[in-house]
């Protein structure tokens, strides 16, 4: 019973550890903006702590570089369970615009299991606050999977068709690779 109470308190008081593993500091600045009076994350109980051993959530920023990957992994393993990893920004989410660079291994999920992504470059402080609120269960998600958009197939008149049916029905079939010779 006490354990259930303690688990419920995780959403009321989340101590975050901020780890920048090679980013440009844009998302750093936006994360620190969230702790300023204008956006005030402390009213949700979110506090910045200095040591990963005290933290519940890790705010990762910057891609996982080859040089910092080991340090990032050690910081993650230093956190006591239950823990959350929130990847902030487009670099942490997949490597950003530098995903194929020689120094970048990719997004942070190459090194840690990520629980939440907050895309943006950098995400606004409101977006980060929204992300933290979603992670803590205070708010629901605002994005949902968009159904794939399929352009309706309309019949195109085909010239020199050899009497074949108009190209409307094969939405997924194999079409002739070579054009037919004109008569």
């Amino acid at each position: 019973m006490l354990k259930a109470l303690c688990r419920r308190m995780m959403s009321r008081s989340c101590w975050v550890y901020h780890a920048n593993s090679g980013g440009c500091n844009g998302c750093d600045i936006e994360v620190l903006n969230v702790l300023t009076p204008y956006y005030d994350a402390e009213r949700f109980g979110v506090k910045l702590v200095a040591s990963p051993r005290h933290a519940d959530a890790m705010l990762c920023q910057g891609p996982a570089l080859r040089s910092t990957a080991q340090a990032l992994r050690r910081a993650y393993e230093a956190m006591p369970a239950p823990k959350l990893v929130i990847a902030i920004g487009s670099c942490a989410g997949g490597g950003g615009a530098w995903f194929d660079s020689y120094a970048v291994m990719g997004g942070v999920e190459k090194v840690l299991p990520v629980d939440f992504f907050v895309p943006g470059c950098p995400p606004r402080p409101e977006a980060i606050l929204h992300g933290v609120a979603v992670a803590l269960g205070i708010l629901g998600k605002s994005v949902s999977p968009r159904p794939p958009l399929v352009q309706p197939a309309f019949p195109f008149p085909r010239y020199h068709t050899d009497g074949e049916p108009p190209a409307g029905e094969p939405a997924s079939g194999a079409a002739p690779a070579a054009p037919t010779t004109p008569r």
């Binding site: 895309p119 409101e126 994005v143 999977p145 968009r146 958009l149 352009q151 079409a175 070579a178």
Partner: protein, 172 residues
């Protein structure tokens, strides 16, 4: 630091009230000109692939399963909202919306996928030499980006994937 200056500092802070925005409980729209997530409109898209060629993070991938179909996949995870795709689109099919509340635990929520029906060239399918350098940038031909793995392959083929890449013969 004298005592009076500290008292004055405390008084200034206290008398300013609270400047905290009621943000998650009340919306706080961004200012004009803010670029959020791009939104793709399949009805206007002509499938030229200019957006994919111009994306600096290689977020927009194109795959042609056959001659009549082109599948465009926007991944959304590495998007920096630079707006180059919207700027280069000839049909204004991409608009930069103001959506910034994009936090999610599943990356498939951020994806947009368009399946387009392409008309074929009257004479030789889709393989034709690029008339200008600008057209060469658009990588005409069959695009073969790796959609499942999310990998950009900067190449195009003259025949659909799975078929031998022989040039087509034209007989007049």
């Amino acid at each position: 630091m004298s005592l009076t200056s500290k008292l004055k500092e405390a008084w200034i802070g206290l008398s300013a009230g609270t400047v905290t925005l009621p943000y998650p409980l009340a919306p706080h729209p961004p200012g004009p000109g803010f670029r959020g997530r791009p939104v793709f409109d399949a009805a206007r898209c002509i499938g030229c692939g200019g957006c994919a060629s111009n994306c600096p993070a290689r977020e927009i991938l194109i795959y042609d399963p056959c001659q009549e179909l082109r599948v465009i996949r926007y991944l959304g995870r590495r998007c920096t909202s630079c707006g180059r795709c919207a700027e280069v689109c000839p049909e204004k099919a991409i608009t930069m919306s103001e959506a910034f509340e994009l936090a999610t635990d599943r990356l498939s929520d951020l994806e947009q996928r368009l399946t387009l029906f392409m008309g074929s060239c009257q004479r030789c399918g889709r393989c034709f030499a690029a008339p200008t350098p600008l057209d060469a940038l658009k990588l005409t031909g069959y695009r073969v980006d790796d959609l499942e793995a999310g990998r950009w392959v900067c190449a195009s083929r003259s025949a659909p994937p799975g078929e031998p890449a022989a040039d087509v013969e034209i007989e007049l």
